[in-house]
Symmetry: C2
Subunit: 252 residues, 2 copies
């Protein structure tokens, strides 16, 4: 196909002559933010104040950006949807299967964001209950707890603290965009329950809100936020040094 | 670069050997939803009940999908951001310049959405006050008023009514996604004012909410929605057959 104007007589004739290779073509990847809140009930329910809001990162063992950490991701297959690619990446990195919440977050598109070539990244956000994971560990992937206040991001595990400069490409911006989306959405949707066990006390739920929001909630604001989102079960939990608490579940 | 594992000694050496052409590569476009509400004050303020919520569509004069209507759009330049492409398309189609609200909506990615080749579309949403447009009209572009209820979309102008089947590619889905985003956002943000003149009566503002939402609002719901969003000016508007009404402006 040349630049000369050509009159086609049908859609089929046009398509037969169409040559996509005449244009500069970019690459498109799917990067996946896998967020979780540690479940104090299963991990160590006596230390409820140790709950952590975490993201899964992979160490880059090869170029480009060797030695940095990034979100799990990969190129989207030419016949694959972005969401299918995100589920594939999620499964490969975590072994997680089943009904996992995953949504398209935003497409990152700065022309120089990847040194190899023009790469658009359709970022996705997954929310999981870490206790349900069969963790494959086949990559050098680690959970990092999130500290994000006043626009500054720090990521911690037992051995390391990462600053934004330790993250590859524009992944610090992707993580911050995801945290802000999640902080907004937990106030007006019920996605927080994707990171909760099926039954929980109101104290545990408030801790999860606070750990994601990065701040304390006054009781009235917490009650307003969860109004119509939870219902009590007929069960109680009694813990060491606490009065027994009613267990609640998501209102469906 | 072959599939043989190669040990690079530096980022620069890796990048020099990188061959992006070994992968199948898609195309990426920017499609722009240009929404507007007719401004009854400037167009015909005596017929306030004639306000319309509209979207700009372009007739396809060439293959593919010749004869259908689509959103203004185009391929994103290899060194251009998606947002810059959206502003370029908006300017070309409408002549609109200045401070126009434009946001990334969603990336549409079904593998067969375009018959030419694999095309991702990063859809954007613009909100404009139609009265501020210097309308270039250089394409066969027309405003269509939107009727969207119970998941069914109809688009009307003086001459035509379009159903979803009259729209090219997956643009009916893009338009419906944009309407739903806008209906959500006008309740909890102040973007509605991007489609309003700088001064308006509360009656006019309520009509704009109702025309976008596609339903009447009860007075209490309207008052709750606009609480803290508007402030009165010291001006009044007196109209034929109406009591004079206080003019309000956006609360900044």
């Amino acid at each position: 196909m040349t630049n000369t104007k050509h009159e086609f007589s049908s859609e089929a004739e046009f398509l037969a002559a169409y040559d996509a290779s005449q244009f500069d073509r970019p690459s498109v990847t799917s990067d996946v933010l896998i967020f979780s809140v540690s479940n104090s009930v299963a991990e160590n329910w006596r230390k409820a104040d140790k709950q952590l809001f975490s993201v899964l990162l992979v160490h880059r063992d090869d170029y480009p950006q060797k030695g940095k950490w990034n979100l799990p991701g990969g190129f989207i297959g030419i016949d694959e949807t972005a969401l299918d690619a995100a589920y594939r990446i999620l499964r490969n990195e975590t072994g997680a299967t089943g009904n996992i919440y995953l949504e398209q977050l935003y497409t990152f598109d700065a022309p120089n964001r990847d040194p190899r070539t023009r790469v658009f990244s359709i970022a996705h956000m997954a929310l999981i209950n870490k206790n349900k994971l069969h963790y494959s560990g086949k990559h050098d992937a680690k959970w990092f707890s999130i500290e994000y206040n006043n626009g500054k991001l720090l990521l911690h595990n037992e051995d390391l603290t990462l600053t934004e400069a330790d993250l590859a490409f524009d992944h610090a911006m992707i993580i911050k965009t995801g945290i802000e989306r999640l902080r907004n959405k937990i106030e007006y949707t019920d996605i927080v329950f994707d990171m909760m066990p099926s039954e929980f006390t109101l104290g545990e739920l408030q801790q999860v809100y606070e750990i994601i929001l990065g701040r304390k909630m006054i009781p009235a604001a917490f009650r307003r936020t969860i109004a119509n989102k939870v219902v009590p079960t007929d069960k109680m939990r009694s813990g060491s040094g606490h009065r027994p608490s009613v267990l609640f579940k998501k209102h469906c």
